[in-house]
């Protein structure tokens, strides 16, 4: 009986020692239970793209609330114009734009392009946000309507010209998904309406489907591709589909986008529905966008 009790004592002491050593692990397990489990929290995807434009067109990204994004874009002339034109660098069209975040899901923007002296305005509304956890949503969905006003002088001032003939509208739904830290894709079904068209049989209503994506090659640099396919009966004759390939380079408060494209225009109607260049003929032009972000109103 005596040995049994001594043995029992040692057993008790052993249990006490073991309890102390496991303490930190138990503490972490307790912490894990206390932290709201991933089933109860919703994680919204961020940074699907580095900025609010893919190349020419919009991405699913919005500018954050209270933030002003100044956008300066250049498109040069065609590379196949040869050395005399310095491969298109001598001809440049420019757009300056200002985007502002009213809320985290709604942004507005205005801009002016030298190409056809066009003023443009838009808003972008984020309707769905990609998320995982408690609320699962596989895509981010945005709606972007734009309006453009071409302020070139009338070709024939003697006839009755209407101000509304200078207006162009577009509506886009942008459906995007961040597949992994470095890979994102989006689809951009687009509707464009022109009040005035050149030929009597030209359609006023145009449809196109855009597809694009980005692949990060380093933490701060990605390759972007954007293609807009125009539907056959709903495009202007003689126009080509817009294809653009470029790089996004992010440095602190700037995002530089440098690319090659066949579209000289920088608002939806001109680059989606009025591109005449052909990649296979070398009607490719070099262009860049610079985006600089200013925080106007701090978050808190």
């Amino acid at each position: 009986m005596k040995t049994l009790k001594i043995w029992f004592l040692f057993l008790l002491m052993g249990m006490f020692y073991k309890a102390g050593a496991q303490d930190t692990t138990d503490l972490m397990n307790l912490l894990e239970k206390e932290m709201t489990s991933s089933k109860d929290m919703t994680y919204y995807t961020t940074a699907t793209f580095k900025t609010t434009r893919l190349v020419n067109g919009h991405s699913v990204e919005n500018v954050a609330k209270g933030v002003l994004d100044v956008k300066i874009s250049h498109r040069f002339g065609n590379l196949n114009e040869g050395f005399y034109e310095l491969f298109g660098l001598d001809k440049a069209t420019m757009r300056i734009g200002f985007d502002y975040g009213i809320s985290n899901n709604l942004m507005i923007g205005v801009g002016r392009s030298t190409y056809q002296k066009t003023y443009d305005a838009f808003f972008k509304l984020k309707i769905l946000r990609q998320s995982k956890g408690k609320r699962k949503m596989p895509i981010t969905l945005s709606y972007v309507p734009t309006i453009a006003y071409r302020s070139l002088k009338w070709q024939d001032p003697s006839i009755k010209n209407y101000a509304t003939s200078r207006l162009f509208y577009s509506h886009q739904l942008i459906i995007g998904r961040k597949f992994s830290e470095g890979t994102s894709f989006q689809l951009m079904p687009t509707f464009i309406h022109q009040n005035l068209v050149t030929g009597a049989n030209d359609p006023n209503d145009l449809f196109a489907i855009g597809i694009g994506g980005r692949q990060k090659i380093t933490k701060r640099i990605s390759i972007n591709v954007e293609y807009y396919y125009q539907l056959e009966d709903y495009k202007l004759p003689g126009t080509r589909n817009s294809l653009s390939v470029g790089f996004d380079i992010e440095t602190g408060g700037h995002v530089f986008q440098v690319h090659f494209t066949n579209s000289p225009g920088m608002n939806e109607r001109t680059f989606i529905a009025d591109t005449k260049g052909r990649w296979d003929k070398g009607d490719i032009l070099f262009g860049f966008n610079i985006s600089r972000v200013f925080t106007i109103r701090n978050k808190h």
Binding site: L12, M35, A64, E181, T251, V293, K299, H300
Partner: protein, 182 residues
């Protein structure tokens, strides 16, 4: 012999029940601060989860990296996407203990200066840290706070040359938590 056996058992059971007291917080405040001539960066996380075991002196913290809130939205995005890579490493943790338990009496109200040492894990790198802390006992709750510095290099957090004048190589972390007995 019977008496010795009874004494040991009672002592053992007594220490088990008396000491197994955990103090927990789910709203611990952790702030980070970087000071340079170009600009100051600060962010706050108000959802740190922490546990202190007053019997053994063990301390543990767990913090969601994307819970740090910055005034500038772009800073918060870069912090998560480029610097801390919170997509890959969502949590930062601390596992350690109070070195000099004798300096603090958890049953008596008062303010105690202690030293806490343990493993700090951030950005998938673990380093041993030893920091001075103040524990304030008040009735059935206690609060703890500490301020210490970490070097970005120690945690493999890379700063590109373009912005190296805007981000300090040493970041100040401030911890301020109020615990309740559980």
């Amino acid at each position: 012999m019977k008496n010795i056996f009874l004494i040991f058992t009672t002592l053992f059971l007594f220490t088990l029940s008396a000491g197994a007291q955990n103090f927990i917080t789910k709203n611990g405040k952790i702030s980070l601060f970087s000071k340079t001539d170009a600009e100051n960066i600060d962010a706050v996380n108000n959802q740190a989860v922490s546990v202190i075991n007053t019997q053994t002196g063990s301390v543990a913290f767990s913090v969601l990296v994307n819970g740090f809130l910055f005034k500038k939205a772009l800073m918060q995005e870069h912090f998560n996407e480029n610097y801390l890579e919170s997509g890959k490493y969502p949590k930062a943790t601390f596992k350690g203990s109070i070195v000099d338990m004798s300096k603090v009496d958890f049953k008596k109200d008062g303010s105690y200066n202690v030293t806490v040492t343990g493993d700090l894990n951030m950005h998938n790198v673990t380093n041993k840290v030893t920091v001075p802390a103040v524990i304030v006992v008040k009735g059935n709750s206690l609060s703890a706070n500490t301020t210490f510095k970490v070097k970005l290099d120690d945690y493999k957090i890379a700063v590109p040359k373009v912005v190296e004048n805007n981000i300090s190589k040493t970041i100040e972390l401030k911890v301020d938590c109020n615990y309740e007995a559980r």
